[in-house]
C-alpha cells in the first residue's frame, strides 16, 4: 500500500515537474496600455459639414448675413465649432454642424425675403423712373425686355428661387436704369428741337410783321394788289 502511495506520489511529483517545466514563469506585466473593451465610435459628420459649408457659401454669396445678423453670427459660430471638433469629437461636431445648418436656413428664409424685397423695391423705383419718362414708348424694345425680366423675377420670388429672382431683379433694375437714361437723352433732344422750332416760329412771325409794316409805310398793300 505504501508502495502505491509512494508511486502515486512519484507520479504526481513527476507530473508537477513536467507541467511546471512547460509553463514560463509568470512575469509582471509591463505598463503598456492594453486595449480597452470595444466601444461604438461616432462617425465623422461629413454630410453635415458639406451641407453647412454649402449653406454658408450660399448665404455669403447673396450677402444675406446683413439681413439676419443674429442667426448669421450664431450659424458661423456653430459652423466653426463643428469644424473644430470634427474628427475629435464627432458627436459634438455633428451637433454643432446641425445647429449651424438650421441657423443658416433661418438666415436664408428671413434674410432672403428681406433681400428680395429690397431688390424688388429698387427695381420698381427704377421702373417708375422709366415710366415717368414714358420710356415704354421712347425706348420701346429695351423697355419691354426689362419689363419681361422684372415679371420673371416676380415669379421666381414667389417660387422662393432667391438666386434667380435676385439676379433677374438686379438685371431688370439695371436695364430700367439704362432705358431711363436713353429716354432722358431722347427727351432732352426733342425738347431742344421743339424749343428751337418755336423760336424760329416767333422769328418768322416777326419778319412777316416787319415786312407788312414796311409795305404799309411805303403805301403798299399786301392784299394782292398795289395801292
Amino acid at each position: 500500500m505504501r508502495r502505491i502511495i509512494y508511486l502515486g506520489a512519484v507520479v504526481g511529483a513527476l507530473f508537477l515537474i513536467i507541467s511546471c517545466a512547460s509553463t514560463p514563469p509568470q512575469q509582471p506585466k509591463p505598463e503598456t496600455p492594453q486595449p480597452q473593451a470595444a466601444q461604438p465610435a461616432a462617425a465623422a459628420p461629413d454630410a453635415e459639414l458639406a451641407q453647412a459649408k454649402s449653406l454658408q457659401q450660399r448665404v455669403d454669396a447673396l450677402g444675406l448675413g446683413t439681413y439676419d445678423p443674429e442667426d448669421y453670427a450664431a450659424a458661423n459660430k456653430d459652423f466653426q465649432a463643428g469644424q473644430d471638433s470634427y474628427g475629435k469629437d464627432n458627436a459634438a461636431s455633428k451637433k454643432s454642424l446641425q445647429a449651424a445648418i438650421s441657423e443658416y436656413n433661418a438666415v436664408i428664409s428671413k434674410g432672403g425675403a428681406l433681400f428680395l424685397a429690397r431688390l424688388q423695391e429698387q427695381t420698381e423705383a427704377s421702373k417708375k423712373a422709366a415710366d415717368d419718362l414714358k420710356a415704354s414708348v421712347a425706348v420701346k424694345d429695351d423697355y419691354a425686355s426689362a419689363n419681361g425680366l422684372y415679371k420673371k423675377a416676380l415669379q421666381e420670388k414667389d417660387a422662393g428661387d432667391i438666386e434667380n429672382a435676385s439676379g433677374d431683379f438686379s438685371q431688370s433694375r439695371d436695364d430700367f436704369d439704362a432705358v431711363t437714361k436713353v429716354a432722358q437723352q431722347k427727351k432732352d433732344a426733342a425738347v431742344q428741337a421743339l424749343q428751337s422750332a418755336q423760336q424760329d416760329k416767333s422769328a418768322s412771325e416777326q419778319k412777316a410783321a416787319d415786312a407788312q409794316k414796311a409795305l404799309k409805310d411805303e403805301g403798299f398793300s399786301s392784299s394782292g394788289s398795289g395801292q
Binding site: K134, A197, D200, A211, L215, S221, Q227
Partner: protein, 250 residues
C-alpha cells in the same frame, strides 16, 4: 384818375397786341407757315406721349417749313412792292396819255411806256427788283409833265357857271388837330379825292423834303405840286376861299 389811365393803357396794350398779328396775317397766310404750325402741334403731342424721336423729327421738319415761309414772305414782299410801283407807273402813263404827253413830251412818254412794259415783263418773270427799278424809272420820266394849254375852241360853248380850275399847287397847312400829310392832302376833294393816291404826290415832291426817303415828315409852308391824275386842268395855288369842284373819286 390813375385807375382810368391804367384802364386806358390796358386797352391800348390789348389793341396793340391784337393789331400786330393782324397786320402780319396776310403774309403769314401761306402754306409753309400753316404746315409748320401743324408740325409743331404734332411735335408737342409726340413729346407729351413720350415719342421723343418723332417729336424731334417733326420739330426739325417744322423748322424747314418756317424757313420756306420766310422765303415766301421775302418774295411776296418784293412782289407787292413791285406790283405797287407798277400800278403807280401805269397811272402816270394813263395820266400822261390823257394830257397828250405822247405828243408834247414824246421822249419822256415813250421812255415811261417802255419802262412800264419792261416792269410788267419783269414782274411776270418774278424779277421783282428789276420791275421796281423800271417802274420807278417810268414814274421819274413823267414826273415833270404838265398839261399843255389847249387852244381855245373856235366857238366856245356857253357854260352855265364858271368852274375854277383845280389848284396846281398846295401849301402845307397846320390845321390842328388834323395835320396835313401826304395821305390827307391826297384825300382833299380838290387834290385826288383819294388818300391812296398819296404816293403820286410824294414822288412828285420828295425832293422838297428834308429826308426824301421819309414821306411822313413834311413841314407847314411847303409848297407841293399836284400832278394831274386823270386829265384834269390844274392851275395856280390852292386858295381856301375858293370852292373847287371835287375830283371824282377813283
Amino acid at each position: 384818375m390813375k385807375t382810368r389811365i391804367l384802364v386806358l393803357a390796358g386797352i391800348a396794350l390789348l389793341l396793340g397786341a391784337a393789331v400786330v398779328p393782324l397786320a402780319a396775317q396776310s403774309l403769314l397766310d401761306n402754306e409753309y407757315y400753316h404746315k409748320a404750325q401743324d408740325l409743331l402741334s404734332q411735335s408737342q403731342q409726340a413729346l407729351d406721349a413720350g415719342d421723343y424721336d418723332n417729336s424731334a423729327s417733326l420739330a426739325m421738319q417744322a423748322r424747314d417749313y418756317l424757313a420756306k415761309s420766310d422765303d415766301y414772305v421775302v418774295t411776296m414782299t418784293q412782289f407787292y412792292r413791285a406790283n405797287g410801283y407798277l400800278s403807280i407807273a401805269k397811272d402816270r402813263v394813263s395820266y400822261a396819255k390823257s394830257i397828250d404827253a405822247d405828243v408834247h413830251y414824246k421822249a419822256a412818254y415813250d421812255t415811261a411806256v417802255s419802262d412800264v412794259t419792261g416792269a410788267k415783263t419783269a414782274l411776270d418773270g418774278k424779277d421783282y427788283p428789276k420791275s421796281i427799278d423800271l417802274s420807278k424809272s417810268a414814274i421819274a420820266a413823267l414826273a415833270n409833265i404838265a398839261p399843255v394849254a389847249k387852244k381855245p375852241p373856235k366857238e366856245p360853248t356857253p357854260q352855265p357857271a364858271a368852274q375854277p380850275d383845280l389848284p396846281q399847287y398846295y401849301t402845307v397847312r397846320l390845321l390842328l388837330p388834323r395835320r396835313d400829310c401826304f395821305w390827307r392832302i391826297a384825300e382833299y376833294p380838290f387834290v385826288y379825292n383819294n388818300p391812296w393816291k398819296w404816293r403820286l404826290l410824294y414822288d412828285a415832291n420828295k425832293d422838297l423834303l428834308e429826308d426824301p426817303k421819309n414821306p411822313n415828315l413834311i413841314q407847314p409852308g411847303m409848297r407841293f405840286i399836284i400832278p394831274g391824275l386823270a386829265g384834269e386842268t390844274r392851275d395856280g395855288d390852292y386858295d381856301p376861299q375858293v370852292e373847287y369842284p371835287p375830283l371824282p373819286a377813283k
